[in-house]
């Protein structure tokens, strides 16, 4: 579903690219590098990459079990709140990690996020997705030496937790995304995973979810513009009600998702 909705955009950007290249007559070597990067970049964002994102509902399951989200209209507000919160709380970590992909800075970001994610459910979701993403990326993109080094240095270390946002920013920076695209991509994968969870929780059908995803994209873009390029000292959560709710995830007697 997600790959399909992705492909028109990607075809378009490829067309635009080739037109640009023809006009500017850019050196064929640079174009080749760019084009081979696309394969890596799209793979990082692809839902088929086994990073375990689909084990998480971002609090949606707890919101449904407490009757906070009952229908598609509620789902739309829920997604908007999750995205706003992602923008204000996590985009600064994505941004800072993508901008300075060095180990010492990354360790600091990881430790700061460990102290910032005070909700245990959300914190565990972040570390499990982050370490899975690093593991997959280090195994797949073997040409990126920095990933191998990072993984080897910190595997089993007690000082780092491999939180998702900084790892995502770091990897996207290393595969050549510019920092604005990295931040937009982070919002995209978050939105993708919430809609995927909503579909599997039978809150919405797959086609209706795609329609809604497309509608919410405009809001998501506004949030990217609002929250992008901020320092981690500004990171704040904006959805305290959902935070209290997401913490209840572990209290549910029957549940489908990890968070």
């Amino acid at each position: 579903m997600l790959m399909e909705s992705d492909s028109p955009v990607s075809k378009k950007s490829r067309l635009v690219n080739s037109v640009d290249c023809a006009m500017e007559e850019a050196p064929s070597n640079a174009v080749g590098v760019n084009q081979s990067l696309h394969w890596t970049q799209w793979q990082v964002l692809d839902s088929i990459l086994p990073t375990g994102g689909f084990a998480h509902s971002y609090g949606l399951e707890a919101a449904m079990q407490s009757r906070m989200v009952n229908n598609q209209e509620d789902l739309r507000s829920f997604v908007i709140q999750v995205l706003e919160n992602t923008g204000s709380l996590l985009l600064p970590f994505v941004y800072c990690a993508s901008k300075s992909p060095d180990t010492a800075a990354w360790v600091k970001l990881d430790q700061l996020l460990e102290a910032t994610l005070t909700n245990e459910v959300g914190r565990k979701a972040s570390t499990s997705q982050g370490s899975a993403l690093l593991r997959v990326a280090a195994s797949v993109f073997i040409e990126i030496q920095a990933l191998q080094d990072l993984r080897r240095t910190f595997l089993g270390s007690k000082n780092v937790s491999f939180h998702h946002a900084p790892i995502f920013g770091l990897i996207c920076g290393l595969v050549g995304f510019d920092s604005e695209t990295v931040q937009r991509a982070y919002m995209f994968v978050t939105m993708r995973d919430v809609f995927s969870a909503a579909t599997r929780l039978n809150l919405i059908g797959p086609l209706a979810a795609s329609v809604l995803q497309h509608q919410v994209a405009a809001d998501a873009e506004r949030m990217v513009q609002k929250w992008r390029d901020r320092d981690v000292s500004e990171a704040s959560q904006t959805a305290p009600l959902l935070d209290a709710l997401q913490g209840c995830h572990a209290y549910m007697f029957s549940r489908l998702f990890c968070s």
Binding site: A62, M64, Q65, S66, R67, M68, N70, N71, Q72, S77, I80, Q81, E84, S88, Q111, L112, A115, T116, T118, N119, E120, V121, R123, K158, N202, L203, I204, G205, D219, A235, S236, Q237, T238, A239, P240, L241, D243, A244, L245, Q246, G247, C248, A250, Y251, M252, F253, S254
Partner: protein, 299 residues
């Protein structure tokens, strides 16, 4: 902050008992240290932070430092909710607290909630410097406004920052930001909930309190969470719209924090202030042996 401080408090051991060795306050802050909050046998200093006019006007800053010496116990509270009055232009009302908690000491910051009037802008920052065996209780909470008069989530800006540092290591970094959105109002986001609260319990003295609270909150909430019935499903044919499902009037969840799990934070959302008062009264009652009185007992 030192030169601009409107208050400074120091609690130290004097002849083996916690004593207030410094208590400075200037307008708009007033500090009162009654000596008879608890029984004489109890070793704790109580401080009431008051503001002239019962609230903070736009553009005012209250900044306070507190130091609780090794082995001492102190409680900082208020007499009533802190009102944040309507904003004048884009000016904020501000409250800052910097506190150091010594070895084996206990600091309890247990105020009444902050109530922001319509259009109010409020910024609060509390930074706690703790040692490995310091004990800390922080209650930080706010309401939707004067909601009984229909003023719900009508303020412009609210930001509350709580940082706890162990040396230079960040232990707990929390920042809540609520701002009126252009196409998404706070009232829509908060639904029928009027109060948001946070309770932090940190340190070895509070270990059993943490465990009890976690167990009780789990029990309270698990009974109220259940998968939607098939009647709520998208694909069910209905002849009439289903009644609006009942949501829990109080939502609470607890999480441990810190590498070794020495801290615990509870997050609460509730439809009324009274529900949160009774929640706090119940879960903080075990502080009585340390403080000489039960928090929020009179509220």
């Amino acid at each position: 902050m030192a030169e601009a401080a409107t208050g400074a408090v120091r609690v130290e051991k004097v002849r083996g008992r916690s004593a207030l060795t410094r208590c400075f306050a200037r307008y708009p802050l007033k500090l009162i240290a009654p000596s008879k909050v608890g029984p004489a046998s109890c070793d704790a200093v109580w401080l009431y932070a008051l503001t002239y006019g019962g609230g903070i006007v736009s553009g005012d800053t209250i900044s306070c430092t507190a130091s609780v010496g090794d082995g001492c116990t102190a409680a900082i509270t208020t007499q009533a909710s802190t009102k944040v009055y309507k904003a004048v232009g884009s000016k904020c009302s501000e409250q800052l607290l910097e506190a150091r908690v010594g070895e084996d000491a206990l600091l309890a910051v247990i105020p009444d909630p902050v109530t922001c009037f319509s259009t109010a802008r409020y910024h609060q920052k509390q930074v706690f410097q703790v040692s490995a065996n310091s004990n800390l209780v922080v209650v930080d909470w706010f309401t939707s406004g004067r909601y009984e008069c229909g003023e719900k989530w009508d303020f412009s800006f609210y930001k509350s920052v709580n940082h706890i540092f162990l040396g230079d290591h960040p232990l707990f970094i929390d920042s809540v930001l609520l701002e009126q959105g252009s196409n998404w109002s706070l009232a829509e986001q908060m639904q029928e909930y009027n109060v948001i609260a946070m309770v932090v319990l940190l340190g070895p003295k509070l270990k059993s309190m943490q465990e009890l609270m976690q167990a009780e909150v789990r029990k309270l909430m698990s009974g109220q969470l259940r998968p939607p019935t098939s009647g709520g499903s998208l694909y069910t044919m209905r002849s009439q719209p289903p009644p609006r499902p009942q949501r829990p009037p109080l939502i609470a969840s607890c999480s441990p924090f810190g590498r070794t799990g020495t801290g615990m934070v509870a997050r609460v959302a509730a439809v009324s202030t009274e529900l949160v008062y009774s929640f706090l009264r119940h879960h903080l009652a075990a502080l009585e042996p340390f403080l000489g009185a039960s928090p929020y007992a009179a509220s």
